[in-house]
Amino acid sequence: MNKLQLTFSLLLIGTSTSLQAIDTIDPVIVTATRTAQSADETLASVTVITREEIEQSQAGSLMELLHGRAASLDFSRNGGPGSNTSLFLRGSESDHVLVLIDGVRAASVTNGAYNWASLNPAQIERIEIVRGPHSTLYGSEAIGGVIQIFTRRGKGLHASLSGGSYGTAGATFGTGGELGEGRYHLNLSHKQSEGFSTTNASSTNYESDDDGYKNSSVGIGYSTPIGNDLEFGINLSHTKGRNDYDDGGYANAYAETQNNTAEMHIDWQTSENWNQRLSVNSSEDLNESHDSWPATITTRRKGINWQHDLETGHNSLLTLGLDAQQDHGKIADSYDEKTTTQAGYLQYQWSGKQLDLLLGARSDQHSEYDQHTTGRLVVGSRLGEGRLYASYATAFKAPTFNELYYPFYGDPTLLPEESVSVEVGYRRGQLRASLFKTEIDNLIQYNTLTWLADNIGQARITGAELEYGLQVSSWRVDSSVTLQKAEDVESGENLLRRAEKKIALTASGPVTAATDMGIEISYTGRREDSFGFPSQRVFLPSFTLLNLTGEYRISPNWRLKGRVENLLNDEYQLAYGYNTPGASAYISLHYTQ
């Protein structure tokens, strides 16, 4: 029809004017890096770990997966996988990293930290590690950075069986696809291990028996468009775990944990330059310990967030949001308290031919400490083929429930811990380099004069990090180097369990048509730790981990995989008095539809 019309009009007009054809020029291709959901990589230091990398690494725990895969991460763990695991991002405290799982705050409100042992990598689609403060978007906790975990999506059926050293066995099953107008996913995983003794003879809690763990998870989600402009999504997850540990005189101490989260959101394209998202979430975390100091600890969090993205001109974006959060923390026989937070925030990002600018501000109103305001300013510039940026940001961490309410320790008048960070970074393709400095003030510590928690600490962290990735024929090589100094300002002593030097290299690629191999090497410098009461300082020696991975494709649907961990059998320590896995091997069989 159109063709006919065209021909007709050509004939008509062609008689009166000279005929001229329209030439199509070769396309201009405008490329850019997809922005991580947590932050724009052009203005912040971001590492993204995809499902593909998780599959390739075959890591059995989040710590094993992340260790050596991104700069500026320090882990400590009280034993083998399944034991309580802490992460220090850019040298900050373990509760200074905001962990979001499908957008839901995952940390316990009682001690403030997220337990990195609780989530099985089999349940994860993608991880975004954003280094540097982001309180202006996310509020409390985001001093060292933000780690956002998206649970597994995917199409079709997949299943696996695995087993290996220390009596470890696991199974996964998942499915996903179209359902009506929308998409669904369902993932199940189970993992268990007989383990090894969490402690060694240098610990006062030493017991020689093996300490195992179990972890079972289910995640389910559905998202669907509603008409042309709306999309609705829901995600639910449930995790149940048990881990054994050593508690000196108390034989067979163990803890049972349970975690439930629910998240719902609606995305609405209101007009051609206005998008908004309304999300509500709820999470519950239960921890019941059976040892010489038994405790039942419950965290319940409810949140609502309403965010707007407005295009405000040529290549600029204004983000506005409102946040409300209710936290409920309970330790049986100690306290049962609730806090509320309301916050408003805005972020303006503008990108010109040569310069980029980002301004952000957020104000939090909290039921205990009243009001706290944070800001962030980033200026970026093109430099050669890459981009250079400089940023200044403030961030904070609200006092934990233990710090506010624990009998004979907590103080409800405590102020938030607050930080100022400056950073200069450069990014060019897969090269990322940053220099940063963070000063944290009002750190909450035990005051020996008042016998209560008090805002008396001060820390200073300076560091340099470099990440470089390249493709060597069909092999993917990634490396990172971190140099950092994290110290207590008053005493000049190093902050515990944070290494000054870390170097890592991973490489993976095909060996034959049906076989892939991977290698992971990481060096972690010596760290300080403390033990006993009153505490004594001790050095944890440096260590090098060498891991190998392999994958063999039996048929288009079936794969056999193997992972060897700590091939050099380095007897390393992540916390004084606690054991770590020696040389160990794992094998798994995978089916994908």
């Binding site: 199509t24 396309p27 201009v28 291709i29 405008v30 890096t33 974006l317």
Partner: protein
Amino acid sequence: MQSIHQTLPLFLKARPSGKWGRFGPLLVFSAVLHGSVISLWPDSESKPIITSGNPITVHLSPVLAHTDSTTAQQARSTPPRPQRGDNKPRSIHHSSISQKTEQGPSTPSKVIDDTTTHFDSDSISATSQDQALTSPGTRQERATLISQIEQELANHFYYPIKARKYGWQGEVHLAFSIGTDGTLFNIRIAQGSGYSTLDRAALFSLSEITRIESTLSDTMSLELPVIYRLHGG
């Protein structure tokens, strides 16, 4: 041991005590931030989307004449939004031009395959493959002109922040004419990408170029596909 960490926070966060100072500049900083945001807030309507230096020329091509009537409507109206489910833009065939150009010499999908792997983040590039062109003016003249345009374009196109954030990709076809004095005019969208953000960015970028340093023997009408493509992440 784990429970002790949980129940006795003094062990969890035991650090030597010290003095501290409050952060004075926090409030000042926030005030400055608020102020700057307000003062920097751009007015989206303040800039003209289309800058046509030379609105009507003697030498209008028939196809231009055909689409002229739809130009204004297309530039202002919102292209249909993409289907959310598959995250792909609907293909839109507004005018006869788009039908015609799909049979043109450069098949966009082919070009994408040829080029995507080479580009660094945030780089913009144009392909420089020579094409046989049929038109008034010598082949030489047109080839020079086109390479000039491509160079100009490479400096003007950008990937909109919002499109990067939402993962929007697509192809926008821009149609425009070049006068004998090198002036660009009659710039418009021949085929939308399905995302108004990308369409407007492409249109604005091209309209930033008012003139090409060149003289032509005759007015030329051209169509330029602009492909927005994200990688990484």
